[in-house]
C-alpha cells in the first residue's frame, strides 16, 4: 500500500468568531503540495478570515491548522518564522511605501531569514524580472500602477520561498485593464508547482488554474469540487444561486 500523502496544509475543524459573529465555522480543508485551491463565496462568508487564520494573523478558537505537519505555534518568534513559510498577498497590496520595489522584496529575507544583503538583492532582482518588472527595481510604490504594485507584492512573498501562498482577492482593487497582468503571473506560479490558496471572484482564473474550488457561505464550506464539477454541476442550491449571480453580472 502506498503511504498516505500528508497534506502540506491541513485545516481541521477550525472556528473563528468576532464577538457574536461566527466568521469561520467548523471548516476543514486539506491542500496537497503543488495544489491550487480557489475559495469563492459572497462577501462576508469568511474567506478572508480563513486566510488570516491560516497564517495566524487571526487566532482561531477551535480546531487545528498544520503546515507541513507542524501546528501553528502561539504568538512569538516561532510563529514569526512559521508565518514566513506562508506567503500572503493582500487585496490592497500593502507594499512598504518608504521602500523601493527592490527593498520591498529584500526586506524580509534579510531580516527574517538573515540572508546576506547582496544575495537577497540578486534574488530580488530575479524575482522582479520573473513578474515582469526588471525595469522597476528602483521605483517606489507611489510610482507604480496598481497591477505593478501587486506584482511586486507577489515577488515580495515569493522571496521568502514560502511553502504556501495565500491570495486574498488580489485583483479586486485593480482597474480592469490591470487584472490580467496579475492573473497571468499567478497562472505561471501555479504551473511551476506553487501551492496556492486563492480567494477570488475571477472565475476565469478559477477555471484555468484551480485544482479544486471551495465554496463558502456564512463561514462554512458548503461545497468542494473540481472546477468542472463546481461550474457544471453544483450540488447545492446556494452554490447554484451564487454561480448564477457571479457569472451573469
Amino acid at each position: 500500500m502506498p503511504p498516505v500523502a500528508v497534506p502540506l496544509l491541513r485545516v481541521d475543524r477550525v472556528t473563528k468568531s468576532f464577538g457574536a459573529v461566527v466568521a469561520v465555522s467548523d471548516v476543514s480543508l486539506d491542500v496537497a503540495a503543488g495544489e491550487v485551491v480557489v475559495i469563492v463565496g459572497a462577501s462576508g462568508s469568511g474567506k478572508s478570515t480563513l486566510c488570516r487564520c491560516i497564517n495566524r494573523m487571526e487566532k482561531h478558537e477551535a480546531g487545528t491548522i498544520t503546515i507541513d505537519g507542524a501546528e501553528l505555534p502561539e504568538e512569538g518568534r516561532a510563529l514569526a518564522s512559521l508565518r514566513a513559510d506562508v506567503g500572503m498577498v493582500f487585496q490592497s497590496f500593502n507594499l512598504f511605501s518608504h521602500l523601493t520595489a527592490l527593498e520591498n522584496v529584500m526586506l524580509a529575507p534579510v531580516m527574517v531569514r538573515k540572508t546576506p544583503k547582496h544575495v537577497a538583492a540578486e534574488d530580488a532582482k530575479r524575482l522582479l524580472a520573473r513578474v515582469g518588472l526588471a525595469d522597476k527595481v528602483n521605483s517606489r510604490p507611489s510610482e507604480l500602477s496598481g497591477g505593478q504594485q501587486q506584482r511586486v507584492a507577489i515577488a515580495r512573498a515569493l522571496a521568502m520561498r514560502p511553502k504556501v501562498l495565500l491570495f486574498d482577492e488580489p485583483t479586486s482593487a485593480l482597474d480592469p485593464e490591470m487584472v490580467s497582468e496579475v492573473l497571468d503571473v499567478m497562472v505561471e506560479l501555479a504551473k511551476d508547482g506553487m501551492t496556492m490558496v486563492v480567494v477570488t471572484h475571477e472565475m476565469g482564473f478559477a477555471r484555468r488554474a484551480a485544482d479544486r474550488i471551495v465554496y463558502m457561505d456564512e463561514g462554512r464550506v458548503v461545497e468542494i469540487g473540481t472546477p468542472e464539477e463546481f461550474f457544471t454541476a453544483p450540488t447545492t442550491e446556494r452554490a447554484r444561486n451564487f454561480l448564477s449571480k457571479i457569472l451573469n453580472h
Binding site: 511605501s97 524580509a108 527574517v112
Partner: protein, 214 residues
C-alpha cells in the same frame, strides 16, 4: 549705575542653564516617551495599561506641581538630588507623556496594512516597528515633537520658581538689584521666543526633507 553688559556673564550662564535643561529634559522625555509609546501600541496588556496610566496622570497635572513635589517632597523621603538634576528629571518625566502621544499619533497615521504585511512576512513586532512603521511615522511626528521641545524649553523656565538660576532666574535676580522691570522680562521673553521659533523653522525644513509620497 550698572549696565546690562555688566551682567553679561551671568545672563550667558543663565541661558546655558535653560538650554542644557531643555536638551537634557527633551532627550530624557524622548527615550522614556518612546518606551511608553511602544508599551501603548504593543500586544502586552499590562504594559499597555502602564503606558496609559502614566500618560493620563502626567499630562493632567501642572508641571509646577510636579516640580514642587520633587524639590520639596523627595528630600522628605530621603532622596536628594541637586536642584538642577531634579528639574531635569521632572522635565523628562512630564514631557515623556507628550512625546508618547506624539509618537503614538504618528504611528497611527501609518495604514494598518503596512504592519500587517510586515507581520505576514514573518517580521517580529519590534522588527516591523523599526523597519516599517517608525520610518513612515517619522515625518508626521516631527512637528508634534518640535512642539514638545518648545514645551520643554518654556517649561524649563519654571526652574526659576524653585530657585534654579536659569535665564528667567537670572532676569529675576537682576531685577531684584536694578528694578529694570518690564524691559528685562520682555528681553527674556524675546530670547525664549526666538529659540522656539527657530526650532519650529528647522522642524518644518526637516519635515519637508523626509516627506514620503504614498
Amino acid at each position: 549705575m550698572s549696565t546690562l553688559a555688566s551682567y553679561f556673564g551671568q545672563i550667558m550662564v543663565g541661558l546655558g542653564t535653560a538650554l542644557s535643561l531643555t536638551v537634557i529634559g527633551f532627550a530624557g522625555a524622548l527615550v522614556l516617551g518612546t518606551i511608553l509609546a511602544v508599551f501603548r501600541i504593543g500586544p502586552i496588556t499590562p504594559l499597555r495599561l502602564v503606558g496609559t496610566v502614566y500618560v493620563e496622570v502626567l499630562r493632567n497635572i501642572p508641571l509646577l506641581c510636579l516640580l514642587i513635589l520633587f524639590v520639596f517632597g523627595l528630600p522628605d523621603i530621603g532622596i536628594v538630588f541637586d536642584l538642577y538634576t531634579t528639574v531635569a528629571i521632572c522635565l523628562a518625566l512630564f514631557n515623556a507623556a507628550f512625546v508618547c502621544e506624539a509618537i503614538r499619533t504618528g504611528i497611527n497615521t501609518v495604514p494598518v496594512g503596512q504592519a500587517e504585511a510586515a507581520r505576514a512576512l514573518g517580521l517580529t513586532f519590534t522588527q516591523s516597528l523599526r523597519t516599517v512603521v517608525l520610518p513612515q511615522a517619522f515625518q508626521s511626528m516631527i512637528q508634534p515633537l518640535v512642539n514638545v521641545f518648545i514645551g520643554v524649553l518654556l517649561g524649563s523656565s519654571l526652574a526659576s520658581a524653585v530657585g534654579v538660576m536659569d535665564l528667567l532666574g537670572v532676569a529675576q535676580f537682576i531685577n531684584l538689584h536694578q528694578a529694570w522691570g518690564i524691559g528685562l522680562f520682555a528681553a527674556a521673553a524675546a530670547v525664549y521666543a526666538s529659540i522656539a521659533l527657530g526650532m519650529g523653522f528647522l522642524g518644518g525644513r526637516l519635515e519637508r526633507k523626509v516627506a514620503i509620497s504614498r
